[in-house]
Subunit: 210 residues, 2 copies
C-alpha cells in the first residue's frame, strides 16, 4: 500500500516558514532571505532546477540531488492545506510543480482546477481522513505526500497516519514563524531514525514510524 | 581562547525537557520515560557509565562513546541556571557530575558550595556576561560549557556568545515541555553545519558560529 510521508525543509529552531511569509511581499520582515537560506540547498540541485524550476541544464549532482529525484518520483498524490494552496495559487507557475492530483483540505466548495503538466487540484470538504482515502486511491502504487502547511502535517501526525517523516534541517535560526511541531497529541506517534544524509546546506533526516 | 559551547539532548520536536519534569516525581506526566527515551543513548555509553554514573565497567564503545569522552574532557568550566541547579541539588550524587567550577546564574547570594570530586558551585548575581568572564578565567585552556537550562542557553545565544552548538537529536516527540529555541533575537547568530555523527539513538549535530 502507498506510504504516507512528509518531506519538508525546517529551520534549526523548528520553523517551516519564517514569520511574515506572504507571497505578496518578499521583503516583509526579511522572510524571503530567511526562506532562501533554509531552502538554498534545494534550489541548487540539478533535478529541481531542470524539472521543477524549468531553468534548463545545470546545478549540483550527487547524493542530495539523487534524493530530490527519488522523492519527486515516489509521489503519486499530494495533500495540502488551504493556506498553502492560497499562497501557491498566486505564486506557482501555470504548470504547477506537482504533476499529480493534489487534495486541498478546505471548507470551500470548488470544482477541480486542472493545470497543464498533470497537476489537478481537488477541493476536499470532508476532512483529512477522506482526503487521505482519495489520495491513496489516486496514487496508484506510488506514495502520498503530505505537502503542508504545518497545521495539516500536525493533523496527520495526530491521526497516526504519517509513515515517514523526512526533514531537511538547515542551520538557520528564524526566531519566529510557523512551527512544525506544535499541537501534537501526547503520546504522539513513535519514530526511529532510518537514514541521515549529510549535505553542506542541510542535514537530511529520515524517520520511520515504529 | 576558550570556546563557549552548548551540548545537549533534544527531542525531535525541539524540547530539552518534557512537560512536568521535576525530580521529586519521575512518574508525573510520564516525564521520566520521555527523558529516558531522549537520553538513553547517553546512558548506554561506556565513558558515561564508568566516569559519570560510576557504574563500573561496561557499556557501548565506538564513535558515540568517543564523542562523549572528548566532550567531557574539553570542559574547563560550566555555567547553568538556577532552576537547573535547584533540580540537580536534590538529584546529583554527592560527587556532582561536573568536576569543574560551575557558575550558577541566580539572584540568590550564597557562598561557594564545594563538592567532593572537583566540583565547586559559584553563585553569580551579576548576570550572564560576568558569569562567562569568570568561567573563561577558570577554564584555563579548556572550554566553557553552557549546561542549561533552555533559558540560559537562550540568553547566551542572544548575547552572540555561543561558538558551538552541539545537539543530540533524538527521534522522540514530547508534545510539550521546555523548548530550546525560543525568545531568540532576530536576526540571531548564524551557524554552519560542522559535523554530523549518526548514532542509533540520536543524531549528533554540531554547528559552528560563522
Amino acid at each position: 500500500m502507498s506510504k504516507v510521508f512528509v518531506n519538508i525543509g525546517l529551520s534549526l529552531d523548528g520553523y517551516m516558514a519564517p514569520e511574515g511569509m506572504t507571497m505578496s511581499d518578499p521583503g516583509y520582515k526579511g522572510w524571503g532571505a530567511k526562506w532562501g537560506a533554509m531552502m538554498g540547498w534545494l534550489l541548487r540541485q540539478q533535478y529541481f532546477r531542470e524539472n521543477l524550476l524549468k531553468m534548463g541544464p545545470g546545478g549540483e549532482t550527487g547524493p542530495v540531488n539523487d534524493l530530490v529525484r527519488s522523492t519527486a518520483e515516489r509521489i503519486g498524490a499530494n495533500i495540502m492545506g488551504k493556506r498553502m494552496f492560497d499562497q501557491g495559487e498566486v505564486a506557482w507557475p501555470e504548470e504547477a510543480p506537482f504533476h499529480t492530483r493534489v487534495y486541498v483540505l478546505t471548507h470551500e466548495k470548488r470544482e477541480p482546477w486542472v493545470r497543464p503538466g498533470g497537476t489537478t487540484f481537488h477541493f476536499v470538504n470532508d476532512g483529512p481522513e477522506r482526503a487521505l482515502e482519495l489520495a491513496r486511491a489516486a496514487a496508484g502504487g506510488r506514495d502520498v505526500r503530505i505537502a503542508g502547511g504545518a497545521d495539516v502535517i500536525q493533523q496527520y501526525l495526530n491521526l497516526g497516519a504519517v509513515d515517514e517523516l523526512e526533514i531537511a534541517l538547515a542551520p538557520v535560526l528564524f526566531g519566529g514563524g510557523r512551527r512544525l511541531f506544535e499541537n501534537l497529541r501526547d503520546p504522539g506517534p513513535q519514530f526511529r531514525i532510518d537514514r541521515v544524509l549529510e549535505g553542506p546546506g542541510a542535514t537530511h533526516l529520515r524517520y520511520v514510524r515504529q
